[in-house]
């Protein structure tokens, strides 16, 4: 036997564990010849003896009686409160977790739907104002629309929140950023304006001017009342009374925040 083989069995040898008799004899013989292995065997024996002594000393160590009593009390409470199988608690736990996840998903979906629906109608409203013939007014929550009841005296229809101005021929209505197309107040004001409109001026639909996107109007814009030569009607495909060709015609120009004209409608 060499030192390497001895080292692999020295623990068993020191603890007098079961091994082949021949191996044991060889190992003892080797330890008698090799000083290093003899010291190793001695160390292992001393350690084994020390550990045995420690184990023997703690062999009968037990938890104090009060631990058992407390445990018993806890057991009685636990038994009275719920079945010990714990399936109820587990079921409740999973149900609670599932409900929390469901709420989270519903909340996220609601936020997403609200965000998307908040933008699309807004775009549609502006586009409708420009493209649809029957829609000929622009209403906002806090802006105002100017309608002329007499050739030289436009009447201001005030939408709540706007300040009243009556400065004559050229009037400006502000398209607010906060305008909400789905807002019921906006819709009702639009209807009211349409009624006044019928009783006052007649306006064409908005005609797009240039190639700018109407989506830019989402950021706001201004409605500017101007006077143009009557020949300008022809450029938008509208009929012209040649007898009145020298006269001027009133028009509302929709100007974006970038200062460019986006659309125009003619008012009579």
């Amino acid at each position: 036997m060499n030192c390497h083989s001895f080292e692999s069995i020295v623990s068993e040898l020191a603890r007098e564990q079961t091994m082949e008799a021949s191996v044991r004899e060889d190992a003892l013989l080797h330890s008698g010849e090799c000083e290093t292995c003899a010291l190793k065997l001695e160390d292992e024996r001393l350690l084994a003896a020390g550990i045995r002594a420690l184990a023997a000393e703690m062999e009968f160590a037990e938890a104090p009686a009060r631990v058992g009593e407390q445990l018993l009390a806890a057991f009685r409470i636990h038994r009275d409160m719920a079945p010990l199988g714990h399936t109820t608690y587990r079921w409740r736990y999973w149900m609670g977790a599932a409900a929390a996840v469901l709420l989270l998903v519903v909340g996220l979906v609601a936020i997403r739907v609200r965000l998307s629906s908040g933008q699309e109608p807004r775009q549609r409203q502006i586009a409708k104002q420009i493209e649809k013939p029957e829609s000929s007014t622009m209403a906002t929550n806090n802006g105002s629309l100017w309608v002329s009841t007499a050739p030289d005296q436009p009447r201001q229809l005030t939408v709540p929140g706007s300040r009243r101005r009556a400065n004559g021929y050229l009037a400006v209505a502000r398209l607010s950023k906060s305008a909400r197309p789905g807002d019921s107040s906006t819709a009702s004001h639009a209807d009211a304006l349409a009624g006044d409109f019928r009783g006052g001026e007649i306006a064409t639909e908005f005609f797009p001017v240039g190639y700018g996107s109407t989506l830019n109007l989402l950021d706001g814009g201004q409605l500017v009342r101007v006077e143009l030569p009557r020949l300008a009607l022809a450029r938008f495909g509208l009929p012209i009374n040649v007898n009145r060709a020298n006269e001027k015609v009133k028009a509302d120009v929709l100007v974006g925040v970038d200062g460019l004209a986006r659309a125009i409608r003619f008012v009579q």
Partner: protein, 206 residues
């Protein structure tokens, strides 16, 4: 005869989960000793050992249905739970961990465990036990637990592997390393002799 009369751990556990108080008492009496000793030998504090014992049986009351006899004995299950609690407590209370850290860095700490001519020859039995206890407590946790399970609780490698949730070979190698560390802590002077002698024998073998 006795084994026929006494119900098994699994039977007691089932009765206990059904609300049988006597089953809990019997199970507690049968298994609390090993749980308490394991915790005490792992952390060296009676207070923590008591807490851990109580917590282990509380876990058994609430989650006893998770015990699977096919995966090991109830004793291994309880010791596994106790191990988790002990490690958590040791992590929380660094005071007990610092023994190992200090003893590795502080040269005087080694001298406290040292007995130059062998602890069983020169020191009284109590002192020997105390020095071994301190040496065991100064081991890193992964080595301490295999010494406690295999040497102090006299478990075989298979049972120890069940408790620790690792391979048998891992238990074997950790135990070998742990014993070498214990010898080093208990007999550092002799270790030096061994080192020099190893050089000699190495030359001889070469």
């Amino acid at each position: 005869m006795k084994t026929h009369c006494e119900p098994s751990d699994s039977e007691l556990l089932q009765s206990m989960l059904a609300g049988d108080e006597k089953a809990l008492t019997a199970l507690y009496r049968r298994r609390q000793g090993s749980v308490y000793r394991f915790a005490l030998q792992m952390c060296g504090s009676q207070a923590i050992a008591e807490d851990v014992t109580q917590e282990v049986f509380m876990v058994l009351m609430s989650d006893g249905h998770t015990f699977d006899p096919a995966r090991g004995s109830l004793n291994s299950f309880l010791l596994g739970v106790a191990r988790n609690h002990v490690l958590r407590r040791l992590k929380r209370e660094r005071f007990y961990v610092s023994i190992a850290e200090d003893s590795d860095n502080d040269p005087t700490a080694k001298e406290r465990y040292v007995t130059t001519d062998g602890p069983l020859d020169d020191l009284s039995r109590t002192e020997t036990v105390e020095s071994v206890r301190k040496a065991v407590l100064s081991l890193p946790e992964r080595y301490r637990e295999v010494v406690v399970l295999c040497d102090l609780q006299e478990m075989n490698y298979v049972e120890a592997a069940e408790v620790l949730g690792c391979a048998i070979g891992t238990v074997r190698s950790r135990l070998h390393r742990a014993r070498a560390m214990l010898i080093e802590k208990l007999h550092p002077a002799r270790e030096e002799k061994v080192t020099s002698a190893t050089v000699k024998s190495a030359r001889c073998l070469a």
